[in-house]
Symmetry: C2
Subunit: 731 residues, 2 copies
């Protein structure tokens, strides 16, 4: 049996409906005949289920035997022996049950993961990284605030995103409103297709996501009802695996089959029906202009293509970017910070000539090697593996260089933020996950306690979006390529003879002419051959709904050589789309660790944020309460402010150890302790190493290590070391 990373199943199940690009791909017809997710049960589980079933039968049989002996008033010794055998069987059954329970709930570490998640979550909430929004009014599901340290991390992540993408690639950043008129989202497909399936409690009207109910039923059954057969367990697992792809009817059938009722009331449920996930509103006072809060930022870029292309000197390729809020009116948000009703997206739309998707800077990322999970590996049940990016492109695993370039840049972005490269993979969409128009899609997935979470979608969406808006608005969203030399092209020319057609078709003439002129090359050449051989031919005019007879005198069809000076085309778009909140949440999990405290019997929490991302770059403490030390601390604080470094000054009398612990829990990378008027110590959070630096140099050393101009290793080798055995343990 192939080795399967334990998280695959729960990931596809728990991320539920697709977050970023995928939601835009769902419009394609999904084939349900695929197998990837129907991963076989682990061998041990199957064996256990079978032996549990056998043991249950044995217990039942022995129970019957005991009752029969009693009814027959058999000898006491005989009855006792039978009861003893029964008890033995029951013990064996219990033991198998226990083993099976462990296999179904603990096999993928889900219990440990939940504990870990709670520990991180408690720390994040206690230190105000997050606050449930409108908490004093008992909150609103799916809405969270970033408190002070969370807000600082977010703004650091966005500043680095701007530096890493916008500045580095000279992208055109725009900033469009969230309020969007209906016509735009009608063109993009969101008004008609941006939906989830919902069921209602038929008596109370409470709404549930249909797939959630089925998922909960299957999980509950699998984990708590140990008596189900191995076949039933396999069926439920298959349902979990294909849940995202079930149609409204199929989901409805499952709900009926399984007898699923409303969780709170046990009332019967309605059939599933689609609920549009956009927040609707009305623009202006008339009530006649429906609008929506945008579900993504991309449309604002697409509708501006013409102006942006002009701004770029009418040259391709170029990329536009946007950071902003997006909104999804989830039916019943779960998964805490990963599935919210309002979130920040950072999106890039890179416009290229579909005939040339090479990238001039691809060589800069070609040697990167990281976990990739191509379609074929998924289908054949393998796991993600490290592939050099250059090889992935040259072997055609990744569709083109530009897509590959962005995959590489996203990898660099995420790992520099502090995402663990061993819990980051790029997963290619399966054929049935992609929209019909998409050339290729890869998701950057980060593994956290919820499973593998899609955090960045990188899709080659071909010309779909620009065409959709061209069609709807009537404004051509196209690019031109001027040829250095005019090119000779063979062109089909269809000339209709109006006089003859008029005589033959009278009032229908226009429709016939239009149909003739709309013929593609194949049709036209066939007609030409027919007319030459037979003098006339039957021709279907769709707008008339019937065949007409076309004679040789009515049309001439020829191929001519023409000179062309340029070509006009709709650019392809390659779209990396970042769910900033999800990235930040995963970053929090990857950065969190605990270390023992010698002083108290407790674990201390630490976030190992890189200095770039840390919400506060350093703290300044006087070692003891002392007027002179406080003055020095204030001078250093002022120089840090001038240098633009966020920091905290703490002149409370708490022990240094406690102060370190407090700031470690906020992920502050450096602590400056003032223990003299001329020099201070700087302590690094993770190593707890300390160096001694002059007061005047302090701010610039901190500036250098937080800006990334200097590493801590370099600082460590430059300045005298300071050892303070006890400070960290005085907690």
């Amino acid at each position: 049996m192939p080795s399967i990373p334990p998280l695959i199943i729960s990931s596809s199940a728990s991320t539920g409906h697709k977050f970023l690009s995928f939601l835009r791909c769902r419009y394609s017809t999904l084939s349900h005949a695929f197998t990837r997710r129907s991963i076989p049960m682990a061998a041990s589980e199957e064996i256990l289920r079978v032996s549990l079933a056998e043991k249950l039968s044995a217990v039942e049989a022995q129970g019957n035997a005991v009752r029969a002996l009693k009814a027959a008033r058999a000898a006491k010794t005989e009855i006792d022996a039978a009861i003893e055998a029964l008890n033995g069987l029951k013990l064996e059954k219990a033991s198998i049950e226990k083993e099976l329970q462990a296999a179904v709930t603990g096999a993928d570490g889900s219990l440990n993961r939940e504990t870990f998640r709670q520990t991180v979550g408690n720390t994040l909430e206690r230190r105000l990284f997050y606050i449930p929004s409108f908490k004093i009014y008992r909150g609103v599901a799916g809405l969270y605030d970033y408190g002070p340290p969370g807000c600082a991390v977010k703004s650091n992540v966005l500043a680095f995103w701007r530096q890493h993408f916008v500045l580095e690639e000279n992208m055109l950043e725009v900033d469009c409103p969230c309020v969007t008129p209906e016509v735009v989202l009608k063109a993009s497909g969101h008004v008609d297709k941006f939906t989830d399936l919902m069921v209602k409690d038929e008596k109370t009207g409470t709404c549930y996501r249909a797939d959630h109910l089925v998922k909960d039923f299957c999980n509950e059954k699998l984990q708590k009802d140990l008596s189900i057969t191995a076949e039933k367990a396999a069926e439920l697992k298959h349902v979990l695996a294909v849940l995202d792809d079930l149609s409204s009817e199929e989901l409805g059938a499952k709900i009926k089959d399984y007898g699923i009722t409303a969780p709170d009331t046990k009332n019967p449920l309605s059939d599933p029906y689609p609920f549009n996930l956009m927040f609707q509103t009305s623009i202006g006072p008339s009530g006649l202009s429906p609008g929506y809060m945008r579900p993504e930022t991309a449309q604002g870029i697409f509708v501006n293509f013409k102006d942006l292309y002009y701004y770029n000197g009418n040259k391709l390729p170029f990329a536009a970017a946007q950071i902003g809020q997006a909104f999804r009116n989830e039916i019943s948000p779960r998964q805490g910070l990963l599935r919210v009703r309002e979130f920040t997206l950072a999106e890039i739309e890179h416009f290229v000539d579909p005939e040339n998707k090479s990238h001039p800077k691809f060589s800069e990322v070609a040697n990167l090697e990281f976990l990739m999970f191509p379609r074929e590996e998924q289908m054949s049940g393998h796991s993600a593996k490290k592939i050099p990016l250059g090889e992935a492109v040259s072997r055609g695993i990744v569709n083109n260089e530009t897509l590959g370039y962005f995959i590489g840049r996203v990898y660099l972005f995420l790992t520099r933020l502090g995402v663990d490269e061993n819990r980051l993979r790029f997963r290619q969409h399966l054929a049935n996950e992609m929209a019909h128009y998409a050339a290729d899609c890869w998701d950057a997935e980060i593994e956290c306690s919820y499973g593998w979470i899609e955090c960045v979608g990188i899709a080659d969406r071909s010309a779909f979006d620009l065409r959709a808006h061209s069609d709807k608005s009537g404004v051509a969203l196209v690019a031109q390529e001027k040829f250095p030399e005019p090119r000779e092209v063979e062109k089909l020319v269809i000339n209709t003879v109006k006089k003859e057609l008029g005589l033959a078709f009278k009032a229908n003439q226009r429709m016939v002419v239009e149909a003739l002129e709309a013929m593609d090359e194949k049709e036209a050449l066939e007609m030409k051959a027919n007319l030459e051989s037979k003098g006339e031919t039957e021709f279907l005019v769709c707008t008339l709904g019937k065949n007409v007879t076309i004679k040789k005198s009515m049309v001439t069809i020829s191929k001519e050589i023409k000179k062309e000076h340029h070509r006009v085309f709709t650019p392809s778009v390659i779209e990396p789309s970042f769910g900033i909140g999800r990235i930040i949440y995963c970053l929090f999990e990857h950065s969190f660790y605990m270390r023992p405290s010698k002083a108290v019997d407790a674990q201390l929490n630490v976030f190992r944020f890189p200095p770039l991302i840390a919400p506060i770059k350093c703290t300044v403490f006087p070692l003891v309460q002392d007027q002179q030390f406080e003055e020095v601390a204030k001078v250093i604080s002022q120089s840090l402010t001038t240098a633009g470094i966020s920091h905290k000054i703490d002149i409370t009398g708490t022990t240094i150890g406690k102060r370190y612990a407090r700031t470690d829990e906020l992920g502050v990378p450096f602590a400056i302790t003032v223990d003299s008027t001329s020099s201070v110590t700087i302590r690094e959070r993770d190593s707890k190493d300390q160096v001694r630096v002059n007061v005047e140099q302090t701010a610039s050393v901190i500036k250098d290590v937080t800006d990334g101009r200097r590493t801590w290793a370099d600082v460590w080798s430059t300045f005298p070391h300071h050892s303070s055995v006890s400070a960290d343990d005085e907690i």
Copy 2:
């Protein structure tokens, strides 16, 4: 007559309803009996109106005379002489009309201002600082995108705001959602009172803002109908001045009196009625949870007060800050970029002990001197004048030090962005503009082509907001002050004797007890005196709706000395609230100028953005098309990117002069021209001065001048000068 800056009238009229804090103050009962805005007409205008009226009478009289002569068949010479006199009078009338026209339209330069606005607006739109949102779908009124340079300016302004306020003052920045449940905005008063008055075309249903129609009528009449009397003109001007304060009924009466009809159809109009300006939506699928897109960011901070106070170590004062989108569903947005339906706010809520509003850093701003426009100056018809801030606070013109401190910091913020200090004033709200609870309010107003525009509101809102949310949520939003020593306080103690009260009032006992216990000090002491002198007293129990007789045996009232260890109070909040889009628009106008080009007969446009704010910090050009120079340009470009400096590289063959002109129009402060492989020239935009710098030093020089570590004057005095006579004129 006092000297009045010509813009006062049009400002209060054209900014229309108040933008930021003021909208939150409108809930107070507005007194209409105020006079500031009823500024008398300029003397010349009044004289002209009177002499025009006289001349019109003279023309009419002379016309009658001519007709009489003709009717009487007088001698031709006599008739001709009369006609000549009539023509003379007509000429004089025309001349007065011309003068009056100039007086009413040109006196405040409104025509010039309009031309200027158009020039700036065209440049901004052509260079994609702004784009009307969803332009290919013919846009939506009141929604604009920031294109690439506008977006860069905005993000620079916000980064500087963070540095200048959040970092410098150690503020707690938070980030809350835009989607807000109804209960929050019910508590804040927005659900009930955040409205504008609207009228509907009674036949088509088209909506208009009632005050806009009256304003247009008055302006039109004043500017185009020169025949109205001086009295009528004075009346219309008064209406314009008090327009913001008219009630629904008063506005309706004006519309009837003036016979105002729907502008597009001339149909009759409905009576004015309030329209809520919030975008409404529904949270979740049930349709049972109404929500709104927040009209300001402040509420997100107020509801988090308790957590933020805890985060700050339960200490006051502290400030929280938030940058984010806010939404107002304007009835019919006008004034282009100044009145939009979605905009970015940056708000600070500084929480203080109401008994101590001093500020430790006030001395740092006390010596600043800038245009202030206190209430008294406005009421007496004077203009804004320079007052040292320290004096304004010590004389009590500004209510307290903390409010004064923020006024000073806002002044520094705006002028460092590039706002012209001579077109910036701080205007105090008049008594009738402020909410009843507000202690004092000042608006930073910037003068632009639309008049004086409120861009920052700085208000001491007392405890209003926290109390409102405490009341609604039932969660106490309060602070504590621990006394260093316990304090002895005299406290009123009311003890009711339940047995006696029960006998006397039976079922009503509870109501009577509650009423007795709820007495304030004055009432209680009066009762005590009555009981002691008369043995009994009449007492009104509101909940019973009647008086009851209280006897001496039923209650004991005494004053006792108690020790208190702390006091609990609701903090006051001082709120500086920044309309980022308005600040940026005014900045664009203040930064714009034109200079002649020698080469062509045209003016060249320049934005004189300070380097801090400039969307692109520098451009890099090879002087001529040359492989080596291009290589050097690329090396410099790479070092600029590494240093985080946004720049543009231009290797097209266009003349240097044209390239300079292109980037001046984007406000790029520095241009690097590569004319050798070892050194380059750096040109400063406004002076056009050039220095010569080594290739290796180039990026760091640019970094220093854009980060503000070094001035151009310093660079100019350090590096050899380079003179290129013709470059700038090769356009």
